[in-house]
Point group: C2
Chain length 101, copies 2
DNA sequence: CTTGCATTTAGACATTTTCCTATTTAGGAA
DNA sequence: TTCCTAAATAGGAAAATGTCTAAATGCAAG
């Protein structure tokens, strides 16, 4: 299992994630925003998928990718916890699945 | 300027940061916790420094490294903002340097 | 000024990553 | 089936990374 940290280390992958923040989309839709060959995008997506940072869903001919925000946030907040009280609180909330008023 | 994301992509560097969370320390102190040659530790520290994630301060013969928590948190929260309302709030606070009651 | 310790720099090497083009797989439609 | 499009895989070249040992630098104490 490859780490989320490695996955977000590459700038193109962070840009892909930012794009996906706007909602689920197909590989071609993503690729059209980059000056990179489609197979390269496909590879980046597979790295993100390995890291559990995106989900994929076949829809006929297309494959639709979407963000796995929970995994993204859990990985990073988990790491930030030792460095920040805010992260500590949020991380705990996320684990409990609760939210204080 | 090399990115904080690349800096935290390597596991040994994340471990170094976690160690430094316990307080400032010298290179040898850090190195003693790892099964890695000192020059390698030194290299990792210089990557962390380039990324603005640690500070160094010469103290006689020794060089003392400490965490630059602000930069660490700003970089990561900035990235998380589009994916999470909590991060959004905290990121804004951090930018203003204020804290709502 | 020489010696010794802490740290960095240099150089080499193996591994990994990133990108490309060409090919293959999978599905939909004629 | 045959043709077209979407996406993944294969294979390879170039660049970046991580680690080591050996050598250099910086500082302090005799």
């Amino acid at each position: 299992m490859s780490s989320a940290f490695k996955a977000i280390a590459a700038e193109p992958r962070r840009r892909i994630l930012n794009h996906l923040a706007g909602g689920p989309m197909t590989v071609s839709e993503i690729a059209s925003h980059f000056e990179m060959a489609t197979p390269s995008i496909s590879k980046h997506l597979s790295v993100l998928k390995e890291a559990g940072l995106v989900h994929e869903q076949r829809r006929g001919q297309f494959i639709i990718y979407s963000i796995a925000a929970d995994n993204l946030l859990n990985s990073l907040y988990g790491f930030l916890t030792p460095f920040c009280p805010h992260a500590r609180k949020i991380s705990a909330q996320r684990k409990r699945g609760t939210k204080p008023k």
